[in-house]
Amino acid sequence: MPTLTRKEVDEIAMLARLHLEPDESARMQDDLGKILDHFLALATVETEGVPAMTHAVPMDLRLRSDEPAPSLPASDALRGAPAREGDTFLVPAIINGGDA
């Protein structure tokens, strides 16, 4: 059941935004399939009523007081950007709210 089809590999690659060359895709299908087969055994473990693990030493979320701290200057924020225009990051146009 978990053995992956090529279509599934492509779907996951798209969800993860990973461009795979055809040979990469084929290898991925093989590798992932084998790994996932190995995990089939998990389904047999009885976990009814067992809570999901959150922390080794249970704790609640600490709250931060609402005090603003200095921001990075825009020049620092943009310093490592591969593409920029003035003080903004630059990406290929996003048309119609979609992303292709």
């Binding site: 969800l15 603003p68 701290a69 921001s71 225009e85 003080d87 990051f89 990406v91």
Partner: protein
Amino acid sequence: MSNLDELLENWEPVIGLEVHVQLATKSKAFSSSAVKFGASPNSLTDPLVLGMPGTLPQFNQHALELALLLGVATESKIRARCRFTRKHYFYPDQPKGYQISQYDEPLCEDGHMNLIVNGQIHRVPLTRIHLEEDAGKNTHVGAFSHVDLNRAGVALVEVVSAPVMHSSEEAAEFMRSLHRLVRWLAISEADMEKGQMRCDANVSVRRRGEDRLGTRTELKNINSFRFVQNAIEHEIARQIRLLETGERIIQETRLWDADLGASAPMRSKETAEDYRYFPDPDLPPLVVDGALMGSILKSLPELPTQRFERYIKQHGLSPDDARTLISERTLADYFDAAEQAHPGQASGRTLANWMLSELLGALNADGKTIDGTPMSATTLSDLVVLVENGTISGKIGKEIFEESYKTGEAPAAIVERRGVQQISDEAALWEIVEQVVAANAKQAEAFAAGKDGLFGFFVGQVMKLTQGRANPVITSDLLHKRLGR
């Protein structure tokens, strides 16, 4: 839109709203970067906002307090323990590649919004209210998009109504009510033009009498109250027309274009978006304990619709006037302060009238709002009392108002200085009436003969002789007596 009215005879719209409200915190939801509208691009970021490697979220206490305040104000059920969830999608305005939000354990559930419809309170159930962070902004320029992350990470609540509204008017009223409520409680400035309150609408239609819900579309990019009504109406009409010609409704997201007055489908992708929700491992469970709830409940003031009802019941205000007074908390507080300055000496109705016509009129002309009023509630109340107890006439009162508003001088002092106390002494007025009638015998005859319009002339003459100080009611009585009818 009479055509729509015709269509609506056979079809019932079903509308649900998802409203994002920016919380009025000084720093962001999970980062201490400041929150400010209109700052220069990318000047309100830090390594966490930029999604840099190694950064981790820290949750803003005040964001929690504001969200809880909204939860109790809407009588929602508050979870004692809830989690933050990661919602994954790739978009340049979402630096981490995921948004921190809440999915299956929202902070608040099953509350309701109180709307005022036809002068009555009308409840719209809420499905949930949850916490999340905002995304940055993309601006389209030619072949590129420019990304500004100033807004990324700002604390939001998402308020989701049950899909139980049945008209665009109701939906618009929902937005106005929510807007009023969050401003009332200082939860958010909620300026739609600044993007501090944004709404998406889920719209479907079904034949009247049917139980099943139709296919719904999601409308986005609605960023003003006006658009809420227009966009929803347009979508309702579009869907009905399609269905009446035998077509299907495609479940899709559509973007509203205000310039065109129409919506268009967002480019759909081959695969449906899968957000791959899972509990954020960087944030342990959020616990709301009794002490916190206690302090939130204690801080809850009288809510707008509660005041609306009180104004009608206690002060006999009309629903319209009551509604106007609660449109801003400062207005309602002003009214309450004016009413309490001289309890029993000036009726609520009278005070409301003076506020809504004289005061707001003057403020409007000045381009001011109640927040910038030069006349305090006590002063206005002082003035109204002077009119109510007969010290000055209403007409004079209006003149005094103008002067006090402009100069800040106390109304009583102006009255004293100008010597414009009302003359209510009957004997004194009778003398003047006699004088006036005697001096205008011809008109008196004409009036007696049936020329009704001349009554005003006599009133005017009395006013002239008394510099406008004659008590109008007594004057009128005495004139009638003297003139014989």
